[in-house]
Symmetry: C2
Subunit: 112 residues, 2 copies
Amino acid sequence: MRPRFKLWIEKDGQLVFSDWRAQLLRTIDESGSLSEAASRLGVHYRIAWEKLHRMEQRLGVKLVEGHSGGAGGGGANLTDAGRELLAKYERLTASLDEEVARRFAALFGEEG
Amino acid sequence: MRPRFKLWIEKDGQLVFSDWRAQLLRTIDESGSLSEAASRLGVHYRIAWEKLHRMEQRLGVKLVEGHSGGAGGGGANLTDAGRELLAKYERLTASLDEEVARRFAALFGEEG
């Protein structure tokens, strides 16, 4: 047996952050572009834009900033707030991965 | 912000236990009847029976035992294994609820 879990964050009862949203920020950070991130995650640009926009609205903070110009057109970068949110969420999920496995093994006598 | 957390248990990549399944066992324990438990949980008897049967098959252990006869017809009770699985799962989820809130507060500086 193996424990599995899913974490997400709500604000005022509404979803504001999740594994998918973390992956979206991570991919924007890696690719420097929202449209490239959407493409890598297999969603339409509009969907990625809306999820990002709704997160920012609900959290009341800008997570990604756009910059335009250059040969490849506009790009996007995480803001400091976006980078911090992503880093904290990643630390939380990583530490919980370990903790869930540890507590499961202690109770069920199996490796998690 | 508030962290939310959902746990489940897999065996060989297949779901074997979850909050809903824990609630099914708990309700069978309280009501002494699989059909009464199904009714309280708002599912057809057949659905409850199948979920239970599949759990038992995948875990390779009997979780509920039926007994027949009496004025009200047959009833159902948790086996020792069923009771133990439920108790361990409840301890795991309760302790993790606390741990998630604690770690979230430590990282995000808010009450979970």
